[in-house]
Amino acid sequence: MTWKGKGKTAIVGIGYSELSRRPQRSLGALSLDACRAAIDDAGLPAERVDGLATFPEAPFHGAGTQDGEQIVSVEYVMNHLPLAPDIRWYAQIETGLVASAVIEGVNALLADACEYVLVWRALHNPRGRYGAWSGNRAPGDAQFMAPYGCTSIFQWHAMAWQRYMHRYGATRDHLATFVTNSRRNANLNPNAYFYTTPMTREDYFAARWIAEPLCLFDCDIPVEGCVALILTTAERAADLRHPPAYIAGYGQNTSRRRALFHYSLDNYMESGHSLASKLWASSGLGPQTMSAAELYDGFSPSTLYWLEAAGFCGEGEAYSFIQDGRIALEGELPVNTFGGSLSEGRLHGMGHIAEAVMQVTDRAEKRQVPNASAVCAIDGSPMLRGSGLVITREP
């Protein structure tokens, strides 16, 4: 049965800060830029914003968590932005990625806990080597990995992709199609870090290895910056500047997973289905009715796993499904129409949500998918504790 909240809330404003590798200003200042921009975009007086939600996680385990410099919390935004004199509701979540913060906001609106919710995701790009593991005592599950030098998320993803290639016959050549298509889309997205930098297949094949079989361009580009959204109810949305992008459904990944090497490809279909089945059940829509799909790509293979786990194609078929222009802007299922995290920047899924909003409200300019009526945005690899949204043009 379709979710009773379908179409009752909407995203009505989007704000981007500058996205760069090494900004001159603090992450806190950039986040305030993004929040102000989202409020302006909605055409809303700032003092009407009475709800706040974020997912402030550091970019990787071991990175710093100084508020306003390395993360941006509810506390920070509440103290630094002139919002409603009496904030009515907030949520700061620590699992489910930022799509779960949006879900929190949706639920708060449906519960009439507040009227206008500001959701943001600030991402820090720490100096030094990304994802470095510098401890010399490995606690918990890491004690079975770190002594062998295997601690980084991209090593785990490399293992999963190696297994996928072995199991289904995929090659790097197949993956190059996806990565270069994302770059082509980013070249039409002024917010993208790689907006003015094209990529050929030759560029892809020339990139250095990070963890073979994944190369530099299979990893998302770490940036520092923030994206913010404004949510409200469908009734209130009608009075604002832009057409509303309705929340038709949502889902969280609630699969049980093994602790060690949960990226081993042992359960990506089952785990991804845990999230996707809720998306389709709540919205009453399905993969065949999506005008485009914004599918998490912290590492390039994750999007392929999503195409399968969310039902856009069968298990083991994604690497061939994405060929022949099928996922291009002009294709039958445009995928990561904004360039994804690979080419827009590592925003932990916020870019995917913002793009779904842009597409269903005809605001995507040169990358607009004509008449986009429903777009899903899925946050997190299928093996991760992620979450997702179905966003629609009509309620």
Binding site: W133, N136, A138, G140, P147, H166, L214, R258
Partner: protein
């Protein structure tokens, strides 16, 4: 190798101590549920399959296959900088599907790595306190 920093060592806790103590005695043991017989690795306070608490460590064959592998090119882990690029394998033990252990391969075998390759355990003494179970290809 004089600049080499020490590699990470396990911070052994009550749950994992039997695994590491057995390794020092050149034995590979894995926590197993006495009710449903599921092997849990890493060790857990309750069985991941049935949530039972009757868990003991049992010897396993030490034989398995290479489920997957990757080659690391980044000096992200303390003490491994001099070995770049280095290989890691994910071993699936023969006792149970998806019963995984991480390892490397002896340098002389790295060219022969492949998914599905048969491996067996051996034990590498790091020092008097620590022995790491590792895997090598079988002939």
């Amino acid at each position: 190798m004089s600049t080499t920093q020490e590699k990470p060592r396990p911070l052994i806790d009550d749950l994992t101590r039997p695994f590491w103590e057995a390794a020092r005695e050149q034995r590979l043991v894995i926590q197993r549920c006495q009710d449903c017989h599921y092997f849990n690795h890493p060790p857990r306070p309750v069985c991941q399959a049935c949530h039972g608490a009757a868990l003991t460590f049992e010897p396993v064959s030490g034989r398995g296959t290479i489920y997957s592998f990757s080659v690391m090119y980044q000096p992200n882990v303390t003490g491994f900088g001099d070995e770049l690029p280095y290989l890691n394998i994910l071993v699936e033990l023969e006792e149970q599907p998806q019963l995984f252990l991480v390892s490397d391969l002896p340098a002389a075998q790295r060219e022969r790595v492949r998914v599905g390759g048969k491996v067996e355990v051996y034990f590498e003494d790091v020092d008097a306190e620590l022995t790491l179970p590792k895997f090598c290809l079988v002939a």
